[in-house]
């Protein structure tokens, strides 16, 4: 518009008009602020606190302690010297060794080379400020008052480090070869699993969309089964199938299932449905006209596949790869069960926090784990932006023609993969009902007597159902209302952009990292939200946040399909937005809302990583019980609990289908 730009427009130099806000606008703004605040509290603030935790380091501050030594009589005292001065004199502790973790201890006797156990010499020690802490034996002492000890007791005096801010945790991390190795391992496992999963998923989706093989509906159902079980379950199944006593142990040609092989097979199992569904969608929207064009140009099958099929599904493949990569690199249950000695980042966090109570290092690993996930996320976002043009094209649905040379291999492959999935589930089922694998194979129900095991018993199962229901209810509410604000509120562009960004973030935040961040943030008496720590509420908040992104995108897609002018019409008719929202928006989007609810339910049943740090005694969960029982070596009950989760999710899916059908018949008559 050259004309528009040519002339200056002085009248616009002044300030622009601002619309008076209506009551509706204020309500909407308030709503958005509330949900935005929810995301800030449930995501932004905990992550920030965790980041700052990763920077909090511990160091022995030698200038903070003063000593006095008596002569041989034990009565006459020498001059007051700081530990720092003594250290410089004696050269006892190198500068680098002063850096430590929160549990570090430094023996005071190190500063006194002439120290002798049971000598008559007495020692005095005090801090120069109130915070300087030391232990006598295991008793904590603090403060500036002089304390006097005989040499026998002084032997037991150890200094405690002070907290500072710095990057030492990170340099420590990278100088520990085992931990740094985990980064390589995690990326390698995630990359291999991604390639394998996406290839298999593509082949399956291709078969289902481009061939005329039979039983497509059945295969579709079977291929989504892994979503319904916790990620640990394939680990357990693999132990029974390929472990040292495994049925098919010989298939591994002497390699151990504990380690990379197990991690890859298990990862492929639990990520396959995700990749499959994404690529299936991508292939379903392909345009038949491209195939007709290819056929009229007499392009070979292979050429058509390379030039039409693959590019058409390109974005789906990238998306699927991103999802699989993130799932594998952030999953903690599977490598913990089957990973053996193969170090993975997610397991490192668990080891650091649970095994060594080293929260700072746990935070460091969390921050490092965020990097690949965020990178993958950023790449995917960039790719997705280019996708718009492809989707807006008016496509003619492609209808495959029967061709035995294509259909038969597709069918065979789908059978093979289905067999693998069903085999894993069947193995778990067997494990759950056998008395003592592999020595006593009589059937029993004793593995379901969860109350006699670690993990929380049947109460944990009840808790899981409660959590899943609350998450589904509360989550669909928050997510849908939030997506509505992003999509349908006019104005507040900045706020909406920020909100959308926050909503996309959970995708890139591993569950463990989120859980750990929650401890740091909520378990702080200064935090007014502290009372929710250790309750069902925090589990619900955490689970909703953990699975926010996919639910948000689902809601957004549904809302985008609504006419953008509904809000304008309602405003012109002087109807408040909430009337439109409840009478039109919600009923029209009901199928999407139900999908969000079942998605949240199923995931709340199976999630482990985010809640493993957050459950309390009366909020133990079935999925965590699977982990804990497996951890304690009670593999059969773990499998049994895993199967309980599976049954529940299958039932939930069936109920969802029934409700959806019933409700849709009533509210979607117009379709």
């Amino acid at each position: 518009m050259a004309i528009a730009l040519e002339t200056a427009h002085p009248p616009l130099a002044g300030k622009h008009l601002r619309q008076q806000t209506s009551r509706d606008d204020r309500i909407k703004l308030g709503f958005m602020a509330v949900i935005g605040l929810y995301l800030v509290i449930a995501l932004g603030a905990p992550l920030f606190v965790m980041l700052s935790k990763s920077l909090s380091t511990y160091r022995f501050d030698l200038t903070a302690y003063e000593f006095q030594v008596s002569d041989g009589t034990g009565a006459n005292w020498g001059p007051v010297v700081t530990a720092d001065a003594l250290n410089r004199q004696a050269g006892a502790v190198a500068e680098a060794d002063l850096s430590t973790n929160s549990d570090g201890r430094l023996a005071a006797t190190k500063f006194f080379p002439e120290f002798s156990f049971r000598s008559p010499v007495n020692y005095r020690i005090r801090g120069v400020d109130e915070d300087a802490a030391f232990l006598v034996g295991s008793t904590l002492e603090k403060g500036t008052a002089w304390r006097e000890y005989d040499s026998g007791t002084f032997r037991r005096v150890v200094l405690r480090p002070a907290r500072t801010i710095g990057l030492e945790n990170f340099s420590n991390y990278f100088s520990t070869p085992a931990l740094a190795q985990s980064i390589y391992n995690s990326v390698l496992m995630a990359a291999i699993s991604t390639v394998v999963t996406v290839s298999i998923a593509f082949a399956l989706a291709y078969g289902l969309t481009r061939s005329c093989m039979p039983l497509k509906g059945l295969f579709r159902g079977i291929l989504t089964i892994p979503i319904l079980v916790p990620s640990l379950l394939p680990g357990i199944a693999l132990v029974y199938l390929f472990g040292n006593q495994g049925v098919f142990k010989d298939w591994l040609l002497g390699y151990s299932i504990y380690g990379p092989i197990g991690i890859v097979i298990g990862s492929v199992f639990f990520t396959l449905p995700h990749a499959f569904l994404i690529i299936l969608t991508a292939l379903s929207v392909a345009d038949a006209r491209h195939y007709e064009a290819a056929a009229s140009l007499k392009a070979s099958k292979w050429r058509t596949f390379r030039t039409v099929t693959v590019p058409g599904a390109r974005y789906g493949i990238v998306s699927a790869a991103f999802v699989v990569f993130t799932l594998v690199i952030t999953d903690f249950g599977l490598p913990k069960v089957i990973g053996g000695q193969y170090g993975m980042l997610a397991v490192d966090i668990y080891k650091q926090v649970i095994g060594q109570q080293n929260f700072e290092m746990g935070a460091v690993v969390s921050v490092i784990l965020l990097v690949p996930a965020v990178l993958a996320f950023a790449v995917d976002r960039r790719m997705q932006k280019r996708q718009v043009a492809l989707l807006s094209a008016r496509a003619v649905p492609y209808a495959p023609k029967p061709n035995v040379r294509v259909d038969a291999p597709c069918f065979a492959f789908a059978c093979l993969v289905s067999l693998f999935i069903l085999g894993m589930i069947a193995m778990c089922q067997v494990a759950a009902v056998v008395k003592f694998w592999p020595y006593d194979l009589t059937l029993t129900t004793k593995n379901f007597a969860f109350d006699l095991m670690d993990g929380g018993g049947w109460a944990a199962y009840g808790n899981s159902i409660r959590l899943a229901l609350l998450t589904a209810l509360f989550g669909s509410l928050v997510v849908f209302a939030g997506a509505y604000m992003v999509e349908k509120a006019d104005g507040f562009r900045f706020g909406r952009g920020l909100f959308h960004f926050l909503a996309m973030m959970p995708m890139a935040v591993p569950g463990m990292v989120l859980g750990l961040a929650y401890i740091f943030f909520f378990n702080n008496p200064a935090n007014p939200l502290n009372p929710i720590y250790g309750t069902m509420t925090i589990l619900v908040v955490c689970t909703v946040t953990h699975f926010y992104t996919v639910a948000h995108l689902t809601a957004l897609t549904a809302l985008k399909q609504m006419d953008p002018e509904f809000e304008s019409v309602a405003a012109s008719l002087k109807q408040p937005f909430h009337r439109l929202f409840f009478r039109v928006t919600v009923p029209v989007c009901l199928p999407a809302i139900l999908n969000i609810a079942i998605y949240l339910f199923v995931n709340a049943m199976t999630t482990v990583s985010a809640v493993v740090f957050l459950y309390a005694t009366d909020t133990k969960l079935a999925s965590v019980a699977v982990l804990n029982m497996d951890d304690a070596g009670d593999i059969a009950p773990a499998a049994a609990m895993g199967m309980m989760i599976f049954y529940t999710n299958v039932a939930a899916k069936l109920i969802h289908a029934l409700i959806a059908r019933g409700l849709l018949a009533r509210t979607q008559a117009w379709r």
Partner: protein, 387 residues
Amino acid sequence: MRHALSIEPTPTSLPRAADPAAPYLEITDLWKAYGDFVALRDISLSIARGEFICFLGPSGCGKTTLLRAVAGLDLQSQGTILQGGRNISTLPASSRDYGIVFQSYALFPNLTIEQNIAFGLENTGRSKAAVASRVSELLETVGLSAHGKKYPAQLSGGQQQRIALARAIAISPGLLLLDEPLSALDAKVRVHLRHEIKALQRKLGVTTIMVTHDQEEALAMADRIVVMNHGIIEQVGSPTEIYRYPETLFVADFIGETNQFPARVVRGGEVEIGHSAFCCATDGFAAGQAATAVVRPVDIIPHGAHAHAVNAIDRPATPQNLIDAEVREMEFLGMFWRTRLTAPRLGERTLVADFSVNAVRRLSIETGGVIQVEIPRERLLLYPRSA
């Protein structure tokens, strides 16, 4: 029709200017900018009560932006809008007084036709019975009484359009805004609905603004047309004014069809096109000034195969504007013939002329023949030529 449709006075339309001749809607010095891009540039416009106004222009000209500013859906950057004497410049949409019909109709898919129409009536203190009777009254008005219980998806496009209209007028707004209401329909339904909407508007007497890019629609329906281009108003006028006396080359070109020739003013009342002089009004032009001369194909008068003024079928010719032309192509368009002529006097430029079927028969015009045509001096329009 037994139920006369009444406009219920609404509180927002009460404060009216004392002077009945005062404009109902008055837009003054309105600007709209999106960042650096200026979408509306210093728009001023007055609309009288009960008028049917069309905003006409190519896509991107700012017509929808202007409509949305009036509706309060996209606030203008600067400028004031008065409606019925009330300053609504910065009011939120819900505090203004209008009904709106969008191109997509935006009917609520999960509500029945009745529920759609009742949407704006409920929640306003009316009794259920009052709402129901008003809905049936509106349904009858738009001729869809039998379809009240159906869902929008079960109706045809034209029917949906009428429901959207009924919903918009249900609350008896002071102003009716129509955003390309007919563009999604096929040609026949479109022509039919034009008349219906116009008739309904007449009956209700509601001030109406319709946005359209279809000049035929605007010419057929509007009391006055606002022709817009690049964010400015090119011309405001009645359909005949706009058509017969386009004030700018853009309007001339956009409304109807034109032949355009580079021209130079020779002296008062005379211009040079090609190598010949033609008579026309040259008000506002200096001698020697370059200009663009415009004549519409339908305004060209055929005079038959012989160079005699007496053969003119319509009226006496202006000798100077009579030219010999060879018929190069003829295209039968049903109601008339479109011909492409070349004339030595026009420097061999193609001149498009539309001749009635009658004229072609009576004057035996055929491809390859040479005919004499007249460019009537009052239909030859001059516009400044931009360098």
